[in-house]
Symmetry: D2
Subunit: 293 residues, 4 copies
Amino acid sequence: MIKDVEVLNCEYGKNTIKLLRVRREGKKHFIKEVEVCTHLRLTSAQEYLEGDNSAVIPTDTIKNIVLVLAKKDGIQTLEQFTVDICKHFMTTFSQVAYVKTYVQEVPWQRLQENGVPHIHSFICVPDGIRFCEAEQCRNGPLVVFAGIKDLKLMKTTQSGFEGFYKNEHTTLPERNDRILCAELFCKWSYGECRDFDFDCIWNKVRECVLEAFSGPPDCGEYSPSYQKTVNCIQMCILSKVPEVSSFLLNDIHVPACSSQVLVPVETPYGSCTCTLSRKKFLEAQGQVLKVEK
Amino acid sequence: MIKDVEVLNCEYGKNTIKLLRVRREGKKHFIKEVEVCTHLRLTSAQEYLEGDNSAVIPTDTIKNIVLVLAKKDGIQTLEQFTVDICKHFMTTFSQVAYVKTYVQEVPWQRLQENGVPHIHSFICVPDGIRFCEAEQCRNGPLVVFAGIKDLKLMKTTQSGFEGFYKNEHTTLPERNDRILCAELFCKWSYGECRDFDFDCIWNKVRECVLEAFSGPPDCGEYSPSYQKTVNCIQMCILSKVPEVSSFLLNDIHVPACSSQVLVPVETPYGSCTCTLSRKKFLEAQGQVLKVEK
Amino acid sequence: MIKDVEVLNCEYGKNTIKLLRVRREGKKHFIKEVEVCTHLRLTSAQEYLEGDNSAVIPTDTIKNIVLVLAKKDGIQTLEQFTVDICKHFMTTFSQVAYVKTYVQEVPWQRLQENGVPHIHSFICVPDGIRFCEAEQCRNGPLVVFAGIKDLKLMKTTQSGFEGFYKNEHTTLPERNDRILCAELFCKWSYGECRDFDFDCIWNKVRECVLEAFSGPPDCGEYSPSYQKTVNCIQMCILSKVPEVSSFLLNDIHVPACSSQVLVPVETPYGSCTCTLSRKKFLEAQGQVLKVEK
Amino acid sequence: MIKDVEVLNCEYGKNTIKLLRVRREGKKHFIKEVEVCTHLRLTSAQEYLEGDNSAVIPTDTIKNIVLVLAKKDGIQTLEQFTVDICKHFMTTFSQVAYVKTYVQEVPWQRLQENGVPHIHSFICVPDGIRFCEAEQCRNGPLVVFAGIKDLKLMKTTQSGFEGFYKNEHTTLPERNDRILCAELFCKWSYGECRDFDFDCIWNKVRECVLEAFSGPPDCGEYSPSYQKTVNCIQMCILSKVPEVSSFLLNDIHVPACSSQVLVPVETPYGSCTCTLSRKKFLEAQGQVLKVEK
C-alpha cells in the first residue's frame, strides 16, 4: 500500500432524478417536469479511504429528499428549487462540505386550440432547454447559474468569414455570404444568490440571444465570424440584463456554403467557447482570470 | 453450393441524404431542410446472385439525383418532392422494379421579434416531426403516406383505466383520474397519389390529433384507455379529413399516477398500434384485412 | 361519427421490460440480462372501439408475468424464454388472438484474469447483440426467429465495385480495391418452433457470418459488391446450418476509398436488405413470394 | 456598449474529426480509426472582440492539418499522435497561446478464425473506449492524460452497503450481499510528456482496473461501498504503475438488490467521482489541492 497520496476530489450523488409536479388552481392545471442531479462532498473522506460509511447520506436518500422538497414547496422557479435543494443539504447535514445541484426542465407548453389555452393539456416543445445550477461550499456563498441548451438557430445570409490566417494547409475559401447555423449552449452566472425574478430574466436573456444572433427582422446584421457573433450576444446581455454577472456561450456549427442546395454535414464540426464577465464581479470574487497574452 | 433457394427480397438504397434548400423572394428567405432515404429493387437480382453489377445504380448516384431534383424543382411540399423522386427513378430507369422514398423535415420555424417575422433567421422547434413516404411497383399505383413523429403530449386529468381483466398477476390499481402522457407516431395513407393541398391537410390532421387527444379547452374529454383515445383521434380524422384513406397511430406511454409529485419512469413503457381504414379504400385495393376473430 | 371503417390492426403491449437473472451453481454465478417486449392482439377490439376494457390484460400485468416466468423457469436460452412467454399468453388467456415477443440480450461476458475465469464478475462486450422473436396467431404455428444486430465489421482490401450502370449523374469511380465497412443486422427463421440447440446454432451462424464476410484468414476473398457479399453470407448459412429456414441480412455501409488516410462519413450511408429462403420452407407455408420480374 | 468587461476564455476548434489510418506490412494490414478534437486559444482575442480574423486559423485548416499529420507520420500510439498534434500547433503558429487535443479510438480488433488471426479483417468490440488528451500553454509543459470510458462491469456478489447515515428520509435497506454494476470512466495523468510505452501502460492500467474491481477469480473481494472500490482501484494503479501521476475515476451505478430476478432501472442513477494523486506530483506542480475539511 502506498502512502504518499493526496485526495483531490471525492464527490458522489444522484443523477437524473425525474419528477413531475402538478399544481391545480381550480380546474386549471400547471406543470413542471424536471430532472435533478445533486452531488455532495463530505468533510471527511473516510468512506472513500477507509470504507467507513457512517457519514454517507445514501444517493437513495438524496433522491427521497429531492422528491419531498418538490412535494412540500412546489417548484416556483427552476432557480428557487435548485437553491432550496442546496440549502437543505447544507443546513441539515453538518458532514456536507460542498453541494452542487443541477436542474433541467422538460419543455412542456400549454396547448392552445384556436388561440384558447387548454386547462390541462400540454405539448413538449424543445426549442432550447432551460437549466439551472447552484453550488455552495461550507462557509462560502451559494452561487447560482442559469442556462439554455440545445438552442438551434440558422440565418441564411448576413454572415461571412474573410481575412483569416492562411498557409499551405488552407483550403477554406473566403466568403462574404454564407449560411450560419449554430447550436447554442448558454450559461450565465447570477453571482451570489439573491431574490431575482428568475423567470423574467431567463426570458429576457433568451430574447437577447435571438435578437443579437439574427439582427433586426427586416435586414439582419452582418456577422464577420462565429466568434464576433458570440461576443455580440454576450455584450448585448451584459448591457441589457444587469443581474447577469458573466456569460459563457458555446456554439457548435457546421460548414455550409451559399448555393441553393446545401449538403449539411454532421461531423467534423467547429465550435467556440467564450466567457465574458463584468470586471466588478471578478474583483468581488478576488479572482482576475485573463486570457494569457 | 445449395440450389433450392428463393430470393424473397433484394433492396438497396441510400439513407439520410441531408439537404437544405433556400428559396429567396427578394430579401425574404424560405428554407426546407430534409433527410431523404431512397431504396430500389431491380427487375433482376443478378448483382446479388451473380455479382453482375451492370444494372446497379450506385447509391452515390441515387444521392446525386436527389440533390439534382431538389436544386432543379425545389421542394414545394414534402409530399410533392417525395413523389417526384419516386417518379424520376421509375420513369428514367427501366431496370427499377420498385422504388420507395422517405423524406423527413427538420422543423425550422421563422424567428419572430416582438411579433415581426424575420426575413432570414430561423429556429428549430421539434414539436412533432413531419415526414412523408411514397412507393411504387412497376405498373402499379404510386401510393403516398404522410405522418408526424415524436409528438409528445400530456393531459393531467380526464383520463382513467378501469374495469380491465384481472388475475393473480394483476397489481395495477383501477383509476378514474390519472395523468396521460404519450409520444405519438401517426402515419396516414392518401391512397393513390393525387393533386392534394398537402400542407393544408397535414396541418388539419395535426390539429385534429391535438383536439381529439385533449378535448375542449375548458373541460377536456374523459379517456377510458389509451386504445379508446387512439380510436377517437382516428375517427376524428377520418370524419373531418376526406383525403385520408387510413390512419395508423402508435403511441408509447409511461405509467403515472395522480399524486402531486410523480416519478416518471422511462422503461418499461406501454404502447399500442392501431390502424383504422375507410372500407371503400380497402375494397378499391382489393384487400380486406381484418383483425382476426 | 362515420361508420364505413375497418380495423386493420389493434395491438398493444409492454416494451423494454428489463430483467437480470442470476443463476448460482455453488460459488459460480451465471447471468442473463435481457430486455423483453411483448405485444398482444385481442379477439375483440371492443376496448379500442367502445372503451370496454373487460378483456384487456394491462401492460403492467404483462410485465409482471414476464418477470414471474423468468423467476420460475430461469432463462435457459433466449429462444426458449421467448417461446415460453408466447405460449403462456396464448394458453392462459382465451381473449388473446395473437402474441409477439422480442427478447434482446445485454452482452455480458465472464471476466478472465490471466486466463482464469472469474466466478462472479462480468464485463459488457457489445460486439453484436443477440436477439430472438417469436409470434403466434391462435390456431396457428408458433414461429421463431433469432438474430444478431449491431455487428460492425471491416475489411481493408479484397473489395471492389465495378461495371455498374452509368449515366450523367454518375460520379462514383470504379474501384477494384476499396475498404468495406459494414454494420450488419441478421435475422433468420427457424420456421415452426422445434427443440433445437439454440445456443449452438446461434454461435454457428455468427461464425459463418464472420467467415463469409472476411474469407480465409491468410488471403480473404474478393467482394464485387455489398449485395454479392450479403448473398455469400446467406448461402453459406443455408448450406451449413440446416435448422435455418430463411435469412434476412441488412447491412449499412459508408463510402470509403483506399488511400492511406480515409475520412469516414456517417451520412448519407448506403444499405441493402436481402432475404433468402429455402424453397421447401416457402412451399410448406403455402407462400411463394418472389422478387417481381 | 459597456466597457467594464473581462474575457475569461475564448477558445475555438474542430470536433469529431474522423479518420482511418491503414498500415500495410506486406499482406498484413493494421488499422487505427480515431476521432480527434483540437481546440486553440489565440494570444489576442481580436477576432472575438473586434471581428479581426487575421490571426484565426480556420477550423477547416485545423482539420486538414490533423489529416496531414496522420498521413505523414501514421498513428504509432494514440498518445504520441495527440502529443504530435499539440506540438505542431504550438511550434508552427506563434499566435497560438494554448492548444488542447482529444483523441478517441474506435475499438477495432483483428478477426480470428479458429484462433488464426485474419490478415485484413476486423470487428468492432466496444468493451471500454481508449482515449487520450494533451494540452499545452505557451511556455508551459505539455501535459498528457489517457483514459478508458464506457467500461461496464458487474459483480453478482461480494458487495454490500451498510452502516450509512440514516434519518427520516432513509428508505434504503442495509445490505451485505448486493449486485454491483458500474459504468466506469477513468482518466489518468502522465504529468509532463515523456517517452513512455503508452500501449503497454494503458493495458496494464486496464488490467488493474478489472482486477481491483472484481478481486481474485476464485473468490472475489468484498466491496463495502462504491467509493471504497473506487479507492482500491486507484490505489492499485498508483502502486503498480509508476508512470501514472494522478487518477480520476467516475463510476455510475444503478440500484440493484440480490434476489434471483432483478429489475434494472436506468434512472435515477448514482455516481461518484474521485481523484487521487501522488503528493510529489502535486508538489512539483506547485499546487496543493485538498478536499476541504
